[in-house]
Amino acid sequence: MKIDRRSFLALGVGVVAGNALSPVPAILTDDIAIWTQNWPWVPVPEIGGSAYADTTCQLCPGGCGISVRKVEERGVKIEGKKDHPVNNGGICALGLSGLQLLYGPTRVKTPLKRAGKRGEGKWIKISWDQAISEVAGKLNDLRSQEKAHTVAGISGSSSGTMTEIFRRFLTAYGSANFFHTPSIQDTYRLVFEFMHGKKADPGFDIENADFILSFGSSLLEGWGPPVRMLKASKKWKDTATKIIQIEPRLSRTALKAERWIPVTPGTEAVLALSLCHVIIKEGLYNKDFLANSTFGFEDYKAKNGEIKKGFKQLVMDDYSPEAASKITGLDPAAIILLAREFAKASAPLAIFGKGQGILPGSLSEAMAIHALNALCGSINRKGGIFALDVLENKELSEVALDGIAEAGLKQHKLVETPHNSSGCLNQAFSAILKGNSVNALLVLEANPLYTLSDSKSVKDAFDRIPFIASFSSFMDETAQYADMILPNHIYLERIEDVPLSMGFPKTVIGLSKPVFKPQYSTKHAGDTILLISKELGGSIADSFPWKNYEACLQHVLSDKMDVLKKKGFWTATDSFPDFKNAFRTASAKFEFQTDSLSSDLVNVKIEGDETYPLVLIPYETIRLSTGYIANPPFLTKAVEDTILKGKDSFIEINPKTAQASGFSEADMVLLQTPKGQARVRVHLEEGIMPGIIALPRGLGHTAYDNYIADKGINVNQLIGPVNDPVSGLDTAWGIRAKLSKA
């Protein structure tokens, strides 16, 4: 066969043309392209009719109104509800991630009974009937052994019908050992009890104040209702409201503030009293209010006839700017300037409560700061602090008792303080470690194993409790360490009243509504408690005459229910009596309580000695959820890599402090405190006082899911509780610490 040039070319052309004309390559490539668009492992979301359902977010105490976008039965997005008094369309990153909790792997899907060792994570699924009868059986046994008082309960919230039902159940059962996760709200209630003589919650009219002095409150990092506070920051800018942030760390609040004043932490009360000193000395205080509506400003005669120093004399003697300067580290001139600005503002407002207010804090400090407000008359007036009547549902607080219950309630309580002790959760666990016996612990939407200081001791105390039951919807640390889990519906699946968190200047109740059918075999904790009490029978059952939780809610909130169901929230018509009638103290006036402001009380103690040259403070960032709810994946994704990298937490440290020890960015170091130690990385940050190191709250979970567990350090394991000498609440804002090469 001979091939000449012609046939060679013909062959070439033939091959090319043949290929091009044949449909095979075209079909194959097209198929391939289609296949790459339909990889079966990439989900194709189903389409369908879309609609919005409104409810109230419960992922933090903020109480935002939310609108859930649904496509048929699926929830596809959570948005802020427009025209809601709290958030008016805005929403935080946690609230936006709610669907990841609804559908997430961290849910407890059915009642569980512990199979392996505690905390090992081995469970057997049990039926609801079995779960309820086992819990009831256990409780019945204890009751018959006259050990009703050794049953304790912890609620994550201090208000709302669920908390009240839970407390009612324990009371009817015969135990006074009811606790709630504490916050600054507990301290503020005592402030009002002492200074106003009434039971009240604080409401801050931050939108109308024109000069806000924040003593370390993370106003923009989750203090108060988070979204409302963020929204307020826009208003502050529009109206040129001055925010002064007193804090050792350049937090988001400090960034947005007109001025950031770093002071030595723990000396805030001294600063507040020194400001009072200047205001009094220069006669800048509200004279009318002081003269007519206060007691204890001038020296006074005590009941025993002794002449006592009044507030005026106390601050004039002990809190001059010079004296305060030595303690706080602030220039005296700066203190004087600040005092004048504060007093001369038309609506000044001082705010107490470090960080998000998770920590109850020092009562003396709170009173010193409240006194500052009082001096300028910023109480119960526009732009000031309001004393809002505490919301209580009388129907739920009065309980019929049988003999066993009466006997149980007379027994010694785990924590005895002169005031309401249900916020003294740390002390409850210390009492257990000291030998007080608790035979059963019930936990409702709280995670003490993670959120309390000195988490190791809490765990030790847990080990002494033979039976722990959790109502948690999630596999949190406490649930994981329990003996039985009776999972609650999550907030999107249940009806519940949501009293607005501390700080809002109006009394507002929101309503959570079941936007979705329960995704799993869970039960409303209210119903679970009702079923247990039925099982226990007698006067306990009689205390809960309702068919189910919803009927109870309907009964208790009957006057508000229509509005709640229609609008999603209910607003009280709060009224504030004039100063003549506002105070229920012995003097019927505002009382300065100088006994609580002596210098030994005012300087908030810190644990540790000189062998620890640094001070560790916890801080909050709005991109980390710090409480019972752990970060959902989206929120964790938004956390900066200078806070968490891989599994390592970063401490913030001033470059000067780091340099002195020879540490540079990202170095791994050993952080030691009197309470524990941890390996952390260094993040250099100019926005922190030299000598202070800061670690964020919200990391270091050991439970929940793989998206949050085993990431970083839980700062609570490094800090111990320091009990306030008066309130008994935890005041530990930090701890001494040292760093060494790891």
């Binding site: 091939i3 000449d4 391939i32 392209a33 296949w35």
Partner: protein, 412 residues
């Protein structure tokens, strides 16, 4: 055993020795193939690339081997178009090296894209504004040309040549080779340039961005020029290595010196242009965008002015100076050093135009990002080297690659 396949008049090592060497290279090849399949099946998370390093080692390897493979088109251009007839003694090898380089480049691209099965979209949905489209088209066409240039060489195998069809095919192909060489040269001038354009058009990346002529940034011309200048050096370097491995002289010195001289002069002119370009960029282009030149060479732990020195002085000025002087060219040590320096120089240039471009922060508050490749990237980058060695071994053993070999190494 395989003597029937070995060309007449040359001596080859024993088949055992050959097979052992093949096995070693084959093992490396398999390692690369394993990594390649990992990348295909598990995805590009097997690499250390990230959102700051969308282009990394592979794209560098692509640019570098295409520049080095530039010896094929430029030697072809010199031989067929410029009539430098002596170069027929090295053109086969240049074509073979070019073929290896271009096939490797295409393979690497097929690994580098996130959706390999959609690779053909670049042709089907072509965006004429994209330099990469230009690259893809020219690269593919030129690879076909190289294949056509390589086939007649294969057909010259003793046994294949015995088949009349192949004999005639080979003859016919040889007689049209000038046409292909011309086509190849034309395509190459373009795609080498487009590869330069890939970086040069990035007006969002002041480190890479260059002004230019019409739609082409200066890097377009610089890349073509540098490939023409440095490519032959690579051909000559590989030839030298082959000579060392086979312990034979394969190409006569006059041929080598001729190509080295042309390469040297090309390099000299290129490096002058490159210096002017760098000077203009550093003093006019970058400052007009708000950048001081030191921005690109400081505040990070790797990139400093040293890399500019390595690329331009050590890898450009020095080898050019050696090769354009007769004394330098004739001294084999100096000449071979120049080849190595030149290869380093052009590789560094391609590195800078890919990886340093990605590393430099543009927004004032952004940060430098450094990168090191994962083993999978390294393995897949070494894969073509192993593949190239194997193809050279087989081609050398069974094909008359070096026309001067029998004359220089007479078999007694």
């Amino acid at each position: 055993m395989d003597s029937a396949l070995i060309p007449n008049g040359v001596r080859r090592c024993s088949i055992n020795k050959f097979m052992i060497a093949l096995a070693i290279a084959g093992a490396v090849l398999l390692w690369g193939v394993y990594a390649m399949f990992l990348c295909w099946f598990k995805g590009l998370n097997q690499t250390n690339m990230n959102d700051y390093y969308g282009f990394a080692l592979w794209i560098w390897a692509d640019l570098a081997i295409i520049a080095l493979g530039g010896g094929a088109f430029f030697t072809g251009f010199l031989r067929y178009i410029m009539g430098k007839d002596e170069l027929k003694n090295i053109i086969n090898y240049a074509v073979l090296i070019g073929f290896i380089c271009y096939s490797s480049a295409l393979l690497i691209l097929a690994i580098d894209i996130g959706q390999p099965l959609r690779g053909w979209f670049i042709f089907w949905h072509a965006n004429v504004h994209s330099m990469l489209t230009e690259v893809a088209f020219c690269l593919t066409c030129y690879f076909m040309v190289l294949t056509i240039e390589y086939i007649p060489l294969i057909l010259e195998n003793k046994q294949i040549d015995k088949v009349p069809f192949f004999h005639h095919l080979s003859h016919n192909m040889h007689s049209v080779m000038a046409v292909f060489a011309a086509t190849g040269a034309f395509l190459s001038f373009f795609h080498q340039g487009s590869l330069g354009g890939v970086a040069g058009v990035l007006f969002g990346r002041p480190f890479a961005f260059r002004e230019g002529l019409f739609i082409w940034p200066w890097t377009f011309f610089l890349f073509t020029w540098s490939a023409a200048a440095y490519g032959p050096c690579f051909t000559l370097m590989v030839t030298k290595i082959t000579e060392m491995v086979t312990k034979k002289k394969l190409v006569k010195d006059n041929v080598v010196e001729l190509l080295a001289k042309i390469s040297g002069w090309m390099m000299a002119t290129y490096i002058i242009a490159k210096i002017i370009d760098t000077y203009y960029w550093a003093n006019v282009t970058a400052p007009s965008l708000g950048f001081n030149i030191m921005h690109f060479y400081s505040n990070n732990s790797f990139y400093g002015l040293w890399i500019l020195f390595l690329e331009i002085i050590l890898g450009g000025v020095v080898p050019a100076a050696i090769l354009i002087t007769e004394k330098g060219r004739k001294n084999s040590l100096a000449r071979n050093t120049a080849f190595v320096l030149a290869v380093i120089g052009v590789c560094v240039n391609r590195w800078v135009m890919v990886l340093q471009v990605m590393a430099v922060p543009v927004m004032s508050f952004d940060t430098w990002a450094l990168y090191y490749p994962s083993w999978q990237e390294v393995a897949t980058t070494i894969l073509p080297v192993a593949y190239g060695i194997i193809l050279i071994m087989i081609s050398y053993r069974y094909l008359p690659i070096f026309p001067q070999e029998p004359e220089l190494n007479p078999v007694d």
